[in-house]
Amino acid sequence: MPDPNHIALLQINGSSPVYLRPLEGDIFMELLLECWDVLVIAILRGGLYALMAVGLSLVFGVMNIPNFAHGELYMFGAYTAYFAYTVFHIGPIPSILAAGILAFVLGMILEKGVFYPLRKRSKRQWVMNTFLVTLGMSIILQNLAKLSWGSTYHGITQYWQGRVRWLSSIAISMDRVVGFLIAVAVITTFFFFMKKTQTGRAIRAVSQDETGASLVGIDLNFIHTLTFALSAMLAGIAGACLLSINPAYPTMGLNPLYKSWFVAILVGMGNVGASIIGGLIVGLLETITYFYFGGGWQDVISLSIIILILLFKPRGLFGVKGVKTALE
């Protein structure tokens, strides 16, 4: 509950804040401020969920692969950022960029090494087979990480200093805010790429109709590799942004994995644009649960709500008929 004597309008880095004149005992004001707190935290969380979910939906929409190794790509991004920041001492933004680039490369390698031979071999039961293949991949990646870097937590204390208080009594760490802004920037760039550039249009064409796309001369193998690499890059950036909040350890990927799956199934698999809104919705559900029921029940309650929604709209909130959905 916000303390009526300390409602700061905006305070960055502990500078002296501009205070609101508190209206004593105004329940409506307190309620509003509480809602604001919840909303701010929900949006900050939801932004990163959206980043993860966009990658997942992209891979499912274009390549029809349900990627259960998405969490491991997130983990890879976190580890890369850790080593870039602590061992090579490059600044925060370059380490996040480095994480993105190296995750891109990893995605390329994985696609060429694992999915390309599978595509050439047989396309029967593609969804189920690739699901199992990504499961195997996730086991391998987790254990490679354990082998190389051990099971201990590799974290950093902070990227950027300071805390922000915006119209609330809760001080939010600068890392979260900047991480959110980075996520927004990345998603915006990604959408610009998809809508305006030729390659982006090629990717969208492949997601709509593979045969038609190859008829107009789009190189399917190139597009598939590019898509998977992009998805890996998005996950890696998410992992790198949250490094100070979630330290890196080999099995850290399970949590982001199932969160991004919640979002993807909630909005309808393959729907990349709606994943952003879905990320915010899931962030909101979680934050409300966190505020009112305590941290442990987050999963149960947000899951129950998602399951309820899916019972009435099995194609997802924004699932469109005719587009690849989770039902095939």
Binding site: P66, V114, P117, L118, R121, Q125, V127, M128, N129, F131, L132, V133, L135, G136, M137, S138, I139, I140, Q142, N143, L144, K146, L147, L254, Y258, W261, F262, I265, M269, G296, W297, Q298, D299, V300, L303, S304, I306, I307, L310, L311, P314, T325, A326, L327, E328
Partner: protein, 334 residues
């Protein structure tokens, strides 16, 4: 004299046909006898316990493959049904003072009810959607078991009384052997009946099956409920065998293990996952020195089997049999 020989031959033939109707071919019968006599010769408690675990995993893998191999739905939340059976059985004994022998079937019933409910809601939709929904339910249940501290003692775990007071493992071995045998016969009888044919039809092509008059929803839910009930039964056994229950029983990694065992054994057969568990669980245990390498091999094995050899152990066995048959034919013809 000839009549007596013929009569005895006919009698043995009746026996063998009857046994193979419930799925026990001569080789299986031989292995069964070997296993039944094993505790008399094996005094090493560690290996005995390992075999008990392997048999339990075999039973679980059979139940998992019953859904994923026959109606082609991956029950990605399988470990939660296992865990629900374990927790129900444990709680009934600890809180209400039931006997473990009664609590185990009660755990199975609870899992069955949960499976029936979940099946009605989501399994009719099939595909990756059903897999994801079962996964989400498993995650929710694991979280609930961890947070409902008054009931389940949360993440610190719950101690559960064991079946027998003795420290020896051989009673547990016979219990689990009997359970595995019973489940194997049950599943084989189901598969060989028209219900099993319906399952296979649904697994191969749901629409074609529906147009032939097979009620897809009814059979899918039936299959799912049976699979979850069996998982609950083994969960009950697990809780009274290990004696300590934590919410981690329901973790996704256990489902992934069972999935790997079932798939490497061969989809769509009953004995494939059982044999695969009997081979893989001891092998993984003995390779423990390799630490992470063994899990990397495990993941790599799964990928390789998926891409290059989807029939698994069963396929290997069939290939070997066909090879021997061809060799025999070429020898007799020449």
């Amino acid at each position: 004299m000839q009549i007596e020989i013929d009569q005895s031959r006919n009698n043995s033939r009746i026996w063998t046909t009857w046994l193979s109707a419930i799925g026990i071919k001569p080789l299986g019968l031989g292995l069964l006898v070997v296993f039944a006599l094993l505790p008399a010769f094996l005094k090493d408690e560690f290996i005995l316990r390992l075999l008990i675990s392997a048999l339990m995993f075999g039973g679980l893998a059979m139940a998992f493959d019953f859904t994923s191999g026959f109606i082609n739905i991956v029950n990605f939340g399988f470990a939660a049904f296992w865990g629900v059976g374990a927790y129900t059985s444990g709680l009934l004994v600890v809180k209400l003072g039931w006997s473990p022998w009664l609590a185990m079937p009660a755990g199975a019933v609870m899992s069955g009810i949960l499976g029936f409910g979940l099946g009605l809601l989501t399994i009719r939709l099939g595909g990756i959607f059903a897999a994801c929904m079962t996964w989400f339910v498993a995650l929710a249940m694991m979280s609930a078991a961890g947070n409902w501290v008054e009931l389940t003692n949360g993440h610190s775990g719950m101690t559960v009384p064991l079946f027998f007071d003795t420290l020896k493992n051989w009673p547990y071995f016979y219990v689990v052997l009997f359970m595995v045998l019973g489940i194997y016969i049950l599943l084989t009888c189901i598969i060989k009946s028209h219900v099993g044919m319906a399952f296979r039809a649904i697994g191969q092509d749901t629409e074609a099956a529906a147009s032939s008059g097979v009620d897809a929803v009814k059979y899918k839910v039936m299959n799912f409920t049976i699979s979850c009930t069996i998982a609950g039964l083994y969960g009950g056994f697990y809780s009274h065998f290990i004696g300590i229950l934590t919410p981690l029983v329901m973790h996704t990694s256990h489902t992934v293990e069972l999935l790997a065992i079932a798939y490497i054994g061969g989809r769509g057969t009953i004995w494939g996952p059982l044999v695969s568990a009997m081979i893989m669980v001891p092998v993984m245990e003995f390779l423990k020195d390799l630490m992470e390498f063994r899990l990397i091999m495990y993941g790599a094995l799964m990928i390789i089997v998926m891409i290059y050899y989807p029939k698994g152990f069963v396929g290997l066995w069939e290939t070997a049999k066909a090879y021997i048959r061809n060799k025999r034919k070429s020898l007799t013809m020449a």
